[in-house]
Structure formats: structure tokens, C-alpha cells
Amino acid sequence: MSEPLPALRLVGLCKHFGRPAVDHLDLTVRQGELYALLGPNGAGKTTTLRMVAGLLAPDAGKVELLGVDLAHEPARAKQGIAYLPDEPMLYAKLKPTEYLEFVAGLWGVEAGVAEARARHLLDWLDLTRHAHELTEGFSRGMKQKLALAGALIHEPQLLILDEPLTGLDAAAARQVKDLLLDHTRKGGTVLLTTHILEVAERMAQRIGIIQHGKLIAEGTLEQLRGQTADAADGATLEDIFLQLTGQA
């Protein structure tokens, strides 16, 4: 039986901003997994995600989303993804329902399907009672949850999230984490960056560590322990991360 297409494949990806931000990066994310991309500040995580989302053109290399080359067929490649940056992409003067209508329109979701998903997502994220309010009055957590609802309205195969838990309270963070796990349980794929290593440790099937634009380690937590010279059996992801990035 043939191997299913990877959700994401990066081949020799490069981006320079005066200095190399992403340097010949090869990375594969399998369908149905939650992949955490970790790295110190300025390591190239956000630049990588922005290239995957089609917001930045790579200087060299290739981005394949579910087997579709992003550079050659951008519309088809983008159909199956959703990108959620650390600052939610919202409109202050729109209501949640109107925002979801707009996003569903951009992805061409059929009306009946979109309405059912919108109702479900707003209910699940406790936003239904705020559905008639403008988002400008929302808290950080509510904004993040609404952006997530927008990202999920077209049921993307690959969900790309940059620091999705920044600034969220415990309850909102739990809801977002549950939603991501549910997405992978249903066969969806999640690629996220985070500075909260416990989240990566508990949620991610595989973890990639990036530094100076290069992937320096990758694998499950056990595999990462194996790649770290001094890691003890019970070493946490934090210990491993600090050793691998030379910050220990």
C-alpha cells in the first residue's frame, strides 16, 4: 500500500533578510499528526510558517501542501490550509457571524455547510452569546477563539498556527488545545510553533527544533532524548531544548 501524501513537505527552503532567516530547510509533516516547531527567538519559525501559508515567497526551495506545489498552484494549495498568526487576523468592526461569513466566502464554503459549522464552532468556543457584538470589544482570548473558528470554518486539512496560546487564560487555552487535538483525531493535521514547551511535550506527536533557520533535531520526545548527549531518561523537553540549542 502506498504511503499517504504528507500534509506538508518543505524541500530546501531558503529565505534571506540580509542574513539567512531560513536556511535550506527540509521538513515533512504527516497527515493526521500534530507537529510542534520549536526554536529560540529569531530562529526562523514565523518566517517558515509565513512561507508555508503563501505570505512570503521563498528565495529558493519548494513548499508542497498535500502534494500540491504552492508556487505553481497557489489557489488549489491554499484550499486545504488555514493560517493563524499570533495576532489574530480580525476586523474590529465586524461581528463574529459576519467575520465567519466573510472567511467562508473567501474559501467558497457552501452556505448550508458553513452555517452548520459556524453554529457548532461558536457554540463550542462559547462565543454564541457574543455573536451580535463587534469584535473590537473582545478580550484577547475571545479574539483568538474567533480567529480559530474562522480558520476551521472550511475544515482545512492542515492548520498552521503561530503561537496560538499566547496571552490566553487557562480556560481559553484549554479550549484551543482541545480543539486542536479534536482536529487531529478527525484526521486533520496541525503545525504549530510555541514557546510553551509543556504544550509541545504533551500534545505533539513529533517535534522539530529549528535554530538559525536550520532544523537541528526532529522526532518524538523519546527520539529527541536519544539525539541529546546528556539527556537522562526523564529529561523534559525543556532540558532537551536548552541542550540542543546550546542555552543550557
Binding site: 505570505l55 452555517e115 454564541t128 451580535h132
Partner: protein, 518 residues
């Protein structure tokens, strides 16, 4: 000078620094603090030129500086005009220092007395309000001094006194509005009031200019009768005190200065409590509309173009500040409408040109908001939606309002001159469309809040936008002139052809240097 940290003067210096920093322009997304060196040099040169102009203008009065009663009346009228503009400026500044700057929490949580904070903030509004008028009028005071008329220095206390009254009035009005209608509506009302005050004199002058000879004569006679010696508003009336003050009469100067000081201190003393409690409470109070019965209503299933169009209009219609700023441009349509109603048979070409120009400026403003100030450009770029449909819908959203507004004047022209109406419709549509395209091709991404400073984005784009507006206005004038009976001439036709070619070149130039904007 080293000022004691935490003192009122120290705080005032901080306020004035912030005021100066906000004069800086935003270019391609990067903020500049204060004025650029080039602008400072330009201002210095303008100041020198103004002094020279003032000396030249005042030299004939070298021997005789005695102010006649009539001069005082004229000066008062001028100062009244200045005062309305000061109130307009004061309202904008009050909104800015109360709501926009966002540093009140920091200041009020510090150990500084709230009275000092409010007093300093009000003082900064006074200085900010007076600054422009001092810049324009101080050269005349200094020129008077050079020519030996020390009384000309009265300009300083009079302008400052008037600014103090205007700033206090604006602050009281803003705070009263907060109490009556809440923060959100106060922003709208204050902006609209400010815009109306700023345009008031223009509108009155236009109504007067278009009111016909008999009405003007009647008004002139009425003014003569009521300002004659012994009449209620005769030369000795208290009403003309500001004019007498600016001409150097000591008692009048004292009266204006005292009025300014009284307004300032009474406002600061009696309203600082409300300033602290009321404004802070209002800011933290988020009023939400009641949830509609039956849960949220969805309107999925619209086409992509309609979805984008609706989103753009919603964002503009729900931003009262932006609406008031755009409405200011529409205020200037009113005099044109008067002319259209009363003088359509004789001035159609001029009206056509003016309406075309106004259409382009309205479309340019809306297109900037819709295209350059897109809130979530990354969302559009990550979506698989065809960029051509999104861009087309955005252009339509920018062009349609101007065309809708033009419908009534067009119908009026059509009733009187059908051929002119068709030509005007063509010009207005072409002008609006090209205005939106020019913005799309030259737009530099920016925040909506920078709307008033959008002209600082790119000089070339501005020149192209203004050039486009002027060329379309010219073309409209020529075409409508050609449609008038007996107006057809070879030279006018050639001028029209030349304008058309220039427009084509301008659009080609803009297209060649277009930016990639979602």
C-alpha cells in the same frame, strides 16, 4: 532648563513634546517623531517671508496706527472666523488627549494630582490650538513693533486668550457629550461638530455668494443699520471688544486675557473631578447591544464579490470617526448643489468640473480606506479566493458611494440638459474608477487610524492622484462646454483631446509603478 520631575511644568513639557511628535508624518508604515529637517527649514523660511510680507503690508500705516471703529468691527469679524476654527481644532485635540492617546491610565495611576494632570492637559490643548494662529499672526505683531507700534503686540494675549476660551469650550463640550451620550457617540459627534465648525465659514460665504444681488443688498442695508452709531451693535458695542483688543486697546486686551484665564481655570477646577471619574468609568464601561432573540442570524451563500463589498461597507459605516472625516469632504458639495439649483443654465461646465473633482476626492478617500488600510491583508493572501474578484469588489466598494451621491445632481442636470447629463455621468464614472485604480496601484499599506495623514504616504502617488483629479475635472469642463449651444470651437475640442491624452499617459505611468496590494 532642568524641571522638577512630577511637577506641572515638567508634565507640560512632556505634553508639548507629545504634541510635537504627533506632527510627524508616517511614511510607508514607519512613524517619524516631530517634523523633518526639511519641514523645519520650510517653516523657518515661511516665518521669515511672513515677517517681510507683514512689514510691507503695515508700512503704509507707519504714521497713523489709530484704529477706527469700523476697523475694530472688521477685526472682530475676522477673529470670529478664527475662533470657530479654534473650536474645531480644540474639539479634535480634546478627543485626542481624552481618548486617542491612551496614556491616561498611566498618568492617573501615578502619584501626580489629578487636578494637575487635567490642567496641564487643558493647557496643552490651549497651546496646540493657539500655535497655528500665532504662527500666522505673530509676524504682524512683530512687524508692528519694528515699525514702532508696540500696541501690535496685542496679537499675542488676544490669540492666547481666544485659544483658552476655545479650548475650554471644546473640552467642556466633549465632557458634556461623554456624560450625555457616552464615549463612542461623543467621538462621532465631536468629530462631526469639529468638521462643521471648520467648514461653517466656507458654507456661509458660499450661501452669501450664491444668494443673488437683491438678497446681498438687503443684508448689507441691515448690517449698516444695526452697526451705525447709536445702534445696538454700534461701534461702541461690547460685541466688538475682540477687534478693539487686537488693535491694541488696553482695556479690551485685559478683558480678553481675563476671559481666557477665567475660562481656563474654571474649566480645570470644576470639571477635573468628572474628567477623572466620568471618563475613566465610561472608558471601562463596555455597552453591548442586547442579543437578538432566537440566536445569531447568518447570511452565508452570498457570492464572493458581494461578501467583500458588504464587508468593506460595514467596516466604513461602523467607524464614525472615518465617516465624519469623509463627510467633511461632502460638506463642500452643498454650495455646489445651491449653484446647481439656482444657476444651472449658465454654469453647467464649471459645475460638472467641480462635481467630477469632488467625486474623485471622495473615491480616493474611500479607496484608501478599503485598499491601503485593509485590516487583515494576510487573511486575504492566505485564502484561495481569486485575487481579481477580491480586488474588483474592493474597487466597486470604493466607487459606488460617489456614484450614488451623484445620482441626484445628475438627475437635475438631465432634466435641464440631457446631453450634458450623459457627459457628466461618463466623466464622473471614469473619474471615480480611475481614482480608485490610482489608489490601488500606488497604495502603501497603512492603518485606518492614519487616514488623516494618508497624504504623507508617497509623494509620487499623491501627485498622480491629484493630477488625475484635475485632468478629469478639466475634461469634464471641456466636454460640458462643448455640449452648450454655440460653445463648440476647435480650440476647446483640441484642449479636450490634449486632456484625454494626458490622462492616458498618467494612468499608464501609475500602472507601470503599481504596488502589489491585496
Amino acid at each position: 532648563m532642568k524641571l522638577r520631575p512630577g511637577g506641572s511644568l515638567w508634565l507640560l513639557r512632556h505634553e508639548l513634546r507629545l504634541y510635537y511628535f504627533r506632527m510627524g508624518i508616517t511614511k510607508a508604515g514607519t512613524a517619524r517623531r516631530g517634523l523633518s529637517r526639511g519641514n523645519l527649514i520650510l517653516m523657518a523660511l515661511a516665518l521669515v517671508a511672513l515677517h517681510g510680507f507683514a512689514v510691507f503690508l503695515m508700512r503704509p500705516f507707519d504714521q497713523d496706527y489709530n484704529a477706527s471703529a469700523l476697523v475694530a468691527i472688521g477685526a472682530t469679524v475676522m477673529l470670529a472666523i478664527v475662533f470657530t476654527m479654534m473650536v474645531s481644532q480644540g474639539l479634535k485635540s480634546s478627543i485626542d488627549v481624552l481618548f486617542e492617546r491612551g496614556d491616561l491610565d498611566l498618568l492617573l495611576s501615578s502619584p501626580l494630582p489629578s487636578r494637575s494632570i487635567f490642567m496641564v492637559r487643558l493647557a496643552a490643548v490651549v497651546i496646540g490650538t493657539a500655535a497655528l494662529y500665532l504662527f500666522l499672526m505673530a509676524p504682524f505683531a512683530n512687524a508692528g513693533l519694528i515699525l514702532g507700534h508696540a500696541r501690535a503686540l496685542a496679537v499675542y494675549p488676544v490669540v492666547l486668550g481666544m485659544a483658552a476660551v476655545a479650548a475650554s469650550l471644546s473640552m467642556l463640550l466633549t465632557l458634556a457629550l461623554v456624560r450625555l451620550v457616552g464615549i463612542r457617540r461623543t467621538r462621532v459627534l465631536a468629530q462631526v461638530l469639529g468638521a462643521l465648525m471648520g467648514a461653517l465659514i466656507f458654507l456661509i460665504s458660499q450661501v452669501y455668494a450664491n444668494s443673488g444681488n437683491s438678497a446681498q443688498q438687503t443684508l448689507g442695508a441691515w448690517i449698516d443699520r444695526h452697526t451705525a452709531a447709536g445702534a445696538p451693535f454700534g461701534p461702541d458695542s461690547l460685541l466688538w471688544t475682540p477687534g478693539r483688543a487686537v488693535l491694541g486697546e488696553p482695556l479690551s486686551i485685559l478683558a480678553i486675557a481675563a476671559l481666557g484665564l477665567a475660562a481656563f481655570f474654571l474649566t480645570a477646577n470644576f470639571t477635573h473631578g468628572f474628567f477623572v471619574r466620568g471618563v475613566q468609568q465610561a472608558v471601562s464601561l463596555v455597552k453591548n447591544a442586547a442579543a437578538p432573540a432566537g440566536g445569531p442570524r447568518y447570511r452565508f451563500g452570498r457570492s464572493l464579490a458581494v461578501t467583500v463589498l458588504l464587508k468593506e461597507w460595514r467596516l466604513i459605516l461602523r467607524d464614525p470617526q472615518l465617516i465624519s472625516q469623509v463627510l467633511l469632504q461632502l460638506l463642500y458639495l452643498l454650495p455646489l448643489c445651491f449653484m446647481l439649483v439656482f444657476k444651472a443654465s449658465t454654469v453647467v461646465p464649471g459645475l460638472g468640473a467641480s462635481l467630477t473633482f469632488l467625486c474623485t476626492s471622495l473615491t480616493t478617500a474611500l479607496a484608501w480606506l478599503i485598499i491601503a488600510a485593509e485590516d487583515a491583508p494576510d487573511l486575504l493572501r492566505t485564502a484561495p479566493a481569486p485575487p481579481s474578484i477580491v480586488a474588483g469588489a474592493k474597487l466597486a466598494a470604493a466607487v459606488a458611494p460617489a456614484l450614488v451621491l451623484m445620482a441626484a445632481p445628475l438627475l437635475w442636470v438631465a432634466w435641464r440638459q440631457p446631453v450634458s447629463a450623459i457627459l457628466l455621468a461618463l466623466c464622473v464614472t471614469g473619474a471615480s474608477t480611475s481614482a480608485a485604480l490610482l489608489v490601488r496601484w500606488g497604495a502603501v499599506p497603512a492603518a485606518r487610524g492614519d487616514f488623516r495623514r494618508r497624504a504623507a504616504g508617497s509623494m509620487v502617488s499623491n501627485i498622480l492622484e491629484w493630477g488625475g483629479a484635475m485632468l478629469w475635472a478639466g475634461l469634464s469642463w471641456v466636454l460640458m462646454a462643448l455640449a452648450q449651444p454655440g460653445q463648440v470651437s476647435l480650440w476647446v475640442a483640441l484642449a479636450g483631446a490634449a486632456l484625454f491624452v494626458l490622462l492616458f499617459v498618467l494612468m499608464a505611468l501609475a500602472w507601470a509603478r503599481r504596488q502589489r496590494t491585496p
